[in-house]
Subunit: 428 residues, 2 copies
């Protein structure tokens, strides 16, 4: 039987970035990626809101997101691979309370050279045509909606085409000689004793035991290193080995609404924020419903990351819920943006966040010849390049990973044993 | 419909200790315990190794275990409720390396007034009839067995009858007017909006949402407070609400071997360690197989807490695995204790540890009117009284819980948001 140097379970954005960086550093290693679906990035990766931002308060977040965005910019501008990156910026609306809480963090970041622009409620009302104050609106108060007291515009942020990004990593990995096998589902992980003694049921606890590959619907694949990069599905494989990755699945939904009225067309192409001449990626005050402009579709994507009591639940084919739009998102949205009155989504999709319930940051660790990469908690696209480089550094046995742009991060910072990640103060 | 003040899911040792302490402090509250089985403490509680120790390096562990053991002593000696507590002590065998690592911790504890006794390998060989050195045993070396270089005897430790302890808490709770309903399975948790608006599918994310009870096979039970104390099963109910409790299930097995030879009878009634005149609860060096004397059954219970690749897996009726004894425990045991040569278990049982994968300490927290108590990670019996008091303090809104003996612990130390538990250096 062929033994690969490494087999990677999962051809999502994190799996592909990881193998691209490993293969680039180790061109002679035989690397195989498997995925249960029939093409790359078809699961949660395809269901992303496809946005990125570089402004974070946590050093970890900043390093991962900023270096990844700069790498994507390099791919697009220097390698001339169109990723449809658009620097439309993030516009973040705050009520009084959250603005007061956020201000010290922003000022601190400003001193470090991060730029942002501030808008007051009158400016927001004028530029966006939104309602900013609900003091006379009993219904809005019952709903607990926050006033749009201030808007913070972050220019270093924007949109990206995830499918093009996936294809970049996939094609580069293949060009370097990597192999991908689709429609191949990892059903279990193979564990063998270091020194097999042919005892039934081995390894026993007094034996060394290592992961040596995966059993799939197409047979067993052996490898010197096995990597689980299965997004929300990783914990299922890892639980069967008693390996805790702290990743839980949560459904996230996006609803697409056409800008098919004059008012919505004007909103989509709001001027004055960015060079693209469109609405930034916008986050409402409270609850923080998000609005992503989709220029190619003349549409807006609308979403909300709901917490309690949204279940941690794996499902093969997550479906968006009509009521979640109708009674959830729409009710909030239309209070701020009357332009959306009467709007129905023309399409919708849902995917699974792979939430790291420790600290919402990625985990990248190895034990018993098994590597685990995941738990990006909804920031997988915007951090994928850095995560891939850190995973490649772990694979290579390096203490530090060098990210695009030259900054370094300690590999063990994102591991489990000596984990060291700064909590994020700028939370959307 | 009746609304209880509190409904508690799970009549295991932690659930019963919790409701006993709540009811004692709030005699007028209507408290209902439900359990899917037909009596108290029949799941993992009944499958415990039924031992306790008070010597821990972590302040948290010490507070929980010492105060609980002192309470059980009080119940037995002052309340004259026989719990069959026997202070047989723990005898902990170390190889050279682990002894060197443990020595500074022990010396530090000694300075604080904790007593222990140390035995060298010759003394161990003489007292126990064990082999202490495997330098000439190729097979033992292949198995990675550690020499019995030193033995540390901890006197403040011993055995307890878990069923009697369960019955104590159950009967006291009932005597105080508490209610228990068996054969009642919590199938889901009921969530309702703070202010119902009769919208289909509410609560939506812009509404306040709270837990108001549980749906069971016997109908819905409403309560002002709902507590999940379901051991390894807790995460199943909590996952459906997106509430992370960091608890995972892992099967643990115990095999019972009769002391039916002269050599084993002599070993069971080893003199010189304790007043009972029996073998202490003994832990082998590496792997740390455990031997629990069971005087009433003229037997030894044998166990081992295996890690990788033992799965995190829920199962209704965990079964012990013959091979785990035959090729696992027995092979290790007989190398140290030739007295066990040829021994087969006459009975065996298996249960689920509720492992807290954060730090192996209990979690006691509340959110959205839902309380969670669990994750004792195999130390539930020996810490049950303290855990119940802390849970009762949380229920009462206290900042500190006063444990038996008068020491206090901050309730939030065992919560999730401001968790503060010292890592344990004395790990078995």
């Amino acid at each position: 039987m062929v033994e690969y140097d490494a087999v990677i379970v999962g051809a999502g954005i994190l799996g592909l970035s990881t193998v691209y960086h490993i293969k680039k550093r180790h061109p002679n290693k035989e690397i195989l990626v498997i995925d249960k679906l029939n093409a790359a990035g078809q699961a949660a990766t395809a269901k992303s809101a496809a946005a990125f931002r570089c402004l974070f308060s946590s050093k970890t977040n900043f390093l991962l997101a900023d270096s990844s965005a700069e790498f994507y910019r390099y791919v697009q501008e220097d390698l001339n691979v169109d990723l449809k990156m658009r620097w439309v910026g993030y516009l973040w609306l705050f009520n009084e309370e959250n603005y007061e809480k956020t201000l010290p963090v922003l000022r601190d970041l400003y001193k470090k050279g991060f730029t942002y622009e501030e808008y007051n409620s009158d400016e927001l009302a004028e530029k966006l045509g939104i309602r900013t104050n609900f003091v006379d609106d009993e219904e809005a108060q019952l709903m607990g909606l926050g006033n749009a007291y201030k808007g913070i515009f972050i220019p270093k942020a924007g949109l990206i085409d995830v499918d093009l990004l996936v294809k970049f990593y996939e094609s580069e990995f293949l060009r370097l000689g990597g192999k991908i096998q689709y429609v191949t589902k990892a059903e279990s992980v193979v564990v063998e004793p270091g020194e097999p003694l042919e005892i039934p049921g081995e390894p026993y606890f007094w034996q060394d035991a290592n992961v040596v590959g995966v059993n799939t619907n197409k047979g067993t694949i052996k490898a010197k290193k096995t990597m689980i990069v299965g997004g929300a599905w990783s914990s299922q494989l890892l639980d069967s080995l008693g390996v805790e990755c702290h990743i839980k699945p949560k459904k996230r939904q996006i609803f697409s609404v056409k800008a098919n009225t004059d008012a919505l067309g004007k909103l989509l192409f709001t001027k004055g924020f960015n060079d693209v001449g469109c609405l930034p990626f916008t986050i409402l005050p409270n609850p923080s419903v998000l609005i992503r402009p989709v220029l190619e579709e003349n549409a807006f994507w609308l979403g909300y990351a709901d917490e309690f009591p949204r279940a941690f639940k794996l499902e093969e084919d997550s479906q968006p819920e009509e009521n979640f739009y109708q009674y959830g998102i729409y009710q909030v949205l239309v209070k701020y943006f009357p332009q959306f009155f009467g709007c129905h989504p023309f399409s919708a999709f849902a995917g699974l966040y792979a939430i790291n319930t420790l600290d919402s940051q990625p985990v990248i660790f190895e034990e018993n010849r098994l590597m685990v990469v995941g738990g990006a908690s909804g920031s997988g696209i915007m951090k994928a390049d850095a995560i891939g480089r850190i995973a490649a550094a772990l694979y290579s046995g390096d203490e530090y990973a060098v990210l695009h742009g030259g900054k370094a991060i300690k590999v063990s910072d994102l591991g489990l044993k000596n984990r060291l990640v700064e909590p994020e103060k700028l939370i959307i």
